[in-house]
């Protein structure tokens, strides 16, 4: 219990990834209790600033997950989102933020197992990095 528990903000789209998370629970698939979830209608709703603010607020990692390409409930919101993430991710890496802290995935409503895998993976990645220091605002 004394082990450090990373806290990861997971921003999930309502129709696929949030539903996938629900399915993981309904199927009783176990994964680390590291994530704190924000439900948004669509990954297209995610402003890059949300991710930066999460890091600043001290979250050790951020996951944004939406519907697979082609599955978006809003037709193309995930494609709009993808362009944003496609720039943010390399930019953060470029300035020296550990790449594993901020990750993106596509998880469908039927992929409970995959949801658990993704959370397990990002938790392990972040655990290896240790508590977030860079870009965290000191209070």
């Amino acid at each position: 219990m004394s082990e450090w528990q990373p806290r990861i903000l997971a921003i999930l789209c309502n129709w696929c990834s949030y539903a996938g998370a629900d399915l993981a629970g309904v199927s009783r698939i176990q994964y680390p209790p590291s994530i704190r979830v924000i439900r948004v209608p669509c990954s297209g709703r995610v402003d890059q600033l949300f991710i930066l603010k999460s890091l600043q607020s001290g979250f050790d990692g951020v996951l944004v997950s939406g519907c697979h390409p082609g599955d978006c409930h809003y037709i193309s919101g995930n494609y709009v989102a993808r362009r944003k993430f496609a720039l943010l991710k390399p930019l953060l890496e470029f300035i020296g933020i550990e790449p594993d802290r901020v990750q993106f995935s596509w998880i469908s409503a039927g992929e409970g197992e995959r949801f658990a895998e993704v959370i397990t993976k990002i938790t392990e990645d972040v655990r290896k990095l240790g508590p977030s220091k860079r870009l965290v605002k000191k209070t």
Binding site: R83, L91, G96
Partner: protein, 322 residues
């Protein structure tokens, strides 16, 4: 005929019979190293126009200042390569109508960096600057006159400029210029990428800790024309307004992202920064990603949608967890 002469003649023609109501260019300013913007409606005033190393400001920005001011008028504007990209961007972003703009491109030999000029003059006051477009530029002061290598006083963004000539224009004045290759331009980005993560972080931190949040970079940026910048909004409180490092860093990162696919790489931000922060590096990194991933460069193709207002279904998504 020199570029300047031809420009004056072209503008005179345009105002007389070319169907434009207004022309935007530069004239000699009160400081010899900084040209002033010039709005002319009378063909006679075309003689006041200049075009040289001192024309650093971007005359296209007036289209974003008050969107009503040009209503019902056909406006001509002289453009360097970077300025033309801004103009194209504005047209794509509905700040201007292509039909109502006459774009006059001019052979750009780069613009000066005032810091470099000041040191070239050894800190002495400069009273006159002569630029005839050749390899050297003459600086004159009270008791001196020196010829300096053009490249030694050029803005660093010009030294690595890949698009010195206006790409989209109705008239072009001068000879198209050889540009550097994309790879040359990205040399610093590549070098930075080769450093370790920790080193990159340390350098970024060192650079951006200098920021005093004066917003000169934003104010001078031709792509920053929001009515109210996000940093000045308090609902929601997008980002802290302090000089605390993470607040500053996030401000700059968001600015990089806001000008993604829109930064015309004019270098105005870096020239404006009083703290000499290397602002170009991150913008170039983003521009490189935009080109590699979305095959788009800001303001290059008037028919293409702006990169961040577009998508392709089968885009590279190497950053998505497998």
């Amino acid at each position: 005929m020199s570029v300047e002469k031809e420009l004056r003649r072209t503008v005179k023609d345009l105002l007389e019979e070319g169907g434009i109501d207004l022309f935007i260019g530069w004239e000699r300013g009160s400081l010899p190293t900084v040209a002033s913007p010039l709005f002319i409606t009378d063909p006679v005033d075309a003689e006041r126009l200049i075009f040289d190393i001192t024309c650093g400001s971007n005359p296209a920005v007036y289209f974003t200042k008050d969107r009503r001011q040009f209503d019902g008028r056909r406006v001509g504007v002289v453009l360097k390569g970077c300025d033309s990209r801004s103009m194209v961007l504005y047209i794509k972003e509905k700040q201007a109508d292509r039909e109502n703009v006459v774009m006059v491109g001019a052979q750009c030999n780069g613009v000066l960096d005032r810091g470099k000029v000041a040191s070239a003059a050894g800190g002495r006051e400069i009273l006159e600057l002569e630029d005839d477009g050749e390899k050297t530029v003459t600086l004159k002061g009270r008791d001196y006159e020196i010829a300096v290598e053009r490249d030694s006083i050029l803005s660093s963004s010009c030294l690595s400029c890949i698009h010195p000539d206006a790409l989209e224009c109705d008239h072009f004045i001068g000879e198209p210029r050889q540009s550097v290759t994309r790879e040359q331009r990205l040399r610093e980005v590549r070098e930075f990428e080769a450093l370790s993560s920790t080193e990159r972080w340390e350098r970024t931190r060192h650079e951006y800790e200098k920021c005093i949040r004066c917003y000169a970079c934003r104010n001078v940026c031709p792509s920053c024309y929001c009515a109210v910048c996000f940093v000045d909004q308090n609902d929601p409180p997008w980002i802290g307004g302090t000089c605390e490092f993470t607040d500053s860093m996030i401000f700059h990162l968001v600015r990089n992202l806001h000008v993604a696919g829109r930064c015309v790489e004019c270098g105005a931000c870096a020239r404006a920064c009083p703290m000499d922060i290397d602002l170009l590096l991150l913008n170039r990194k983003v521009a490189m990603e935009v080109l590699e991933r979305f095959n788009d460069e800001a303001g290059m193709d008037i028919t293409a949608k702006p990169a961040m207002a577009d998508f392709k279904e089968d885009e590279k998504q190497d950053f998505i967890m497998g």
